[in-house]
């Protein structure tokens, strides 16, 4: 029997009995536990590369309730590479303007002012269940085209036995238990990761002593598509801060920061919630629009991560490996970056094209990414919840000054929205042989830019790419069976020039399958490129 821990918003992978259940343990190259955003994007990425991926989830679809709403450009770029982004962008709400209030008054507004010449917007708001559904839709399309992906719903992993080069899993189903084996086991089983517990591993960090009431309400109101954030909101019982943000389907996300000592049952009383929401919604217009409470819950948040994301043949990705407070939208966004980092490495290792130790770099790179996210999320949380008298004094001084003085505004922190990290100085990158723009240095993700037939990022990724710009002349690069493609753009658009060449007339970039820059040079040099690929795949 498989217990239902939550209701689903969409049923995406209904249980069906498979032959594995009546056989001696069948071996699979990759078993992914958990079909959330991270497990699904990993399976899709692997399957599209031709590497079999089996996903086990103890439910049959995307969970209902308030979870991620804010998806960043980097995530959309990854989804675009995977063929899943169009419905996300079509359905999502694009926003650029934020307003910050302090008490009764408006402090300032800001515009994310996204740089022009990128396919995807800086952010969209989209309910997480849609994000997961669109990934599953793309998986179904890929399966039809022959991608070896399998999703098994109502398959609950209940135990594991580790061996030197594989792991045996105990799986429970509506038809009873069975066992399977995995060459590589990827735990994408969320913040409470049962796999982590089964292996006796710790998950250390900080719990923020605060409760957030999250209400998703449906209303047809003419509020602008902006992010509104209040410090010390003036409405009654609304706590330390409040947030109002639009989602698709006329749904609005409302957060109230309630503090630590609260009576949860009382705070979840719908009348009490409605009183708060009424006060918030009428604060700007004086009238309360009609609305329904769609979903309400109270969360506490933490920032923590596993010490190591790799334990032999078991690797952790997404919330199982790291958890952040949501101010900054770094949970799902960073988890999808984990899966993209892991997918191409696992693919090369399983095809025998790179050594197993390449997977160590997954752990070191993404542990660094997690630290950066935790740092940013912790700073935002500390600003919103000052922990000492002096930090309260400084916080309020910043807010007071921010009204009239621009210098204080960058110090106001209600969440720094998710951007990908740059692997500066990491072992698998370099050299930087072009004194080029900082934003496209080795370790960085490739900035997007217009090209004659669309956008640069449409042409990058999936395999190693050699990108020649301007006067550079390319020849094909042979790296054994490791796929390498070349792309030459003789007349770069002004944006491409600015983002990749700066003052130079030519440049050659080596780009990883996950669209991070490995190395760059002024001129094409096949031997240098092959050496850099060898470094990137850890072939000594």
């Amino acid at each position: 029997m498989v217990a239902k821990r939550y209701d689903t918003a969409f049923d995406l992978y209904p249980y069906a009995k498979v032959a594995d259940q009546d056989a001696a343990p069948v071996r699979h190259p990759v078993v992914i536990v958990g079909g959330g955003p991270v497990g699904l994007s990993l399976a899709l990425d692997l399957g599209k590369k031709g590497t079999p991926a089996l996903v086990l989830d103890d439910h049959e679809g995307a969970g209902l309730g308030s979870k991620a709403i804010c998806f960043a450009k980097r995530t959309l770029d990854i989804a675009n590479r995977l063929g899943a982004s169009q419905p996300m962008v079509d359905k999502g709400v694009v926003w650029n303007v934020g307003r910050v209030f302090h008490g009764d008054g408006k402090l300032f507004s800001f515009d994310l002012l996204p740089e022009a010449g990128h396919r995807n917007p800086a952010f969209i708001n989209l309910q997480q269940p849609y994000f997961e559904k669109f990934l599953v839709d793309a998986i179904r399309t890929a399966q039809e085209a022959g991608a070896p992906i399998e999703l098994r719903g109502s398959n609950c992993v209940t135990g594991l036995t580790r061996h030197d080069d594989y792991t045996t899993l105990d799986v429970d189903t509506p038809d009873g238990p069975y066992q399977i084996e995995a060459d590589y086991l990827i735990a994408c089983d969320g913040a409470r990761s049962p796999i982590r517990d089964m292996m006796g591993l710790t998950f250390d960090g900080r719990v923020f002593e605060d409760n957030f009431l999250i209400a998703d309400v449906r209303m047809k109101a003419a509020f602008p598509t902006e992010r509104w954030f209040w410090f010390e909101p003036p409405f009654e019982h609304s706590g330390q801060s409040a947030l109002l943000h639009k989602q698709p389907d006329d749904i609005w996300r409302i957060d109230f920061q309630l503090g630590w000592d609260i009576d949860r049952a009382k705070e979840l009383d719908p009348d009490r919630i409605r009183a708060r929401v009424d006060a918030m919604l009428s604060s700007q217009t004086g009238t309360v629009p009609d609305y329904d409470l769609v979903w309400t819950s109270i969360y506490t948040f933490q920032c923590r991560r596993m010490k190591k994301f790799r334990h032999g043949r078991v690797l952790f990705a997404g919330d199982s490996a790291h958890q952040v407070s949501p101010f900054g939208a770094r949970g799902a966004n960073s988890g999808v970056q984990d899966s993209e980092n892991l997918a191409w490495k696992l693919d090369l290792v399983l095809k025998g094209l790179a050594p197993d130790r390449l997977l160590d770099s997954y752990a070191t790179e993404r542990e660094f990414g997690a630290d950066e996210n935790i740092l940013n999320a912790s700073r935002a949380t500390d600003f919103m919840t000052p922990k000492s008298r002096v930090s309260q004094v400084f916080r309020n001084a910043v807010l007071t000054l921010a009204k009239d003085h621009a210098f204080a505004r960058p110090l106001v922190n209600s969440g720094r929205l998710s951007v990908p990290c740059t692997y500066d100085g990491f072992a698998h990158f370099g050299p930087d042989g072009l004194d080029g723009p900082k934003g496209s240095r080795p370790g960085a993700t490739c900035p997007d830019a217009p090209v004659t037939d669309g956008f640069l990022l449409d042409h990058l990724g999936d395999v190693f790419m050699v990108l020649g710009l301007g006067n550079a002349t390319l020849s094909p690069v042979q790296m054994g069976a490791v796929p390498v493609q070349t792309l030459s753009i003789k007349a770069p658009s002004p944006e491409l020039q600015e983002r990749y060449l700066g003052r130079h007339k030519s440049g050659v970039y080596l780009i990883r399958p996950d669209q991070h820059v490995v190395a760059r040079w002024a001129e094409f040099d096949a031997a240098a490129i092959k050496a850099a690929i060898a470094t990137a795949i850890d072939k000594r």
């Binding site: 600003f383 002096v390 930090s391 400084f394 621009a406 210098f407």
Partner: protein, 60 residues
């Protein structure tokens, strides 16, 4: 030189973090004294009386 009231600190979040961490082990009275010393040090660095007067005004 006029008083700068436009953003001027690189990595503002990092600076703010450092500023608060400087108070980590201090009680309220010690924090107040620390802030006073910090203001005096920064004021001396600025030196320009007109700028300092403008800053006193902006902080009101």
């Amino acid at each position: 030189m006029a008083l700068t009231l436009m953003p001027n600190i690189p990595d503002p979040d990092g600076f703010y973090d450092e500023l608060l961490h400087a108070h980590d082990a201090l009680n309220d009275q010690e924090s107040e004294a620390f802030n006073a010393r910090l203001i005096l040090i920064l004021a001396n660095h600025i030196g320009d009386r007109a700028v300092l007067r403008a800053a006193l005004e902006a902080a009101k």
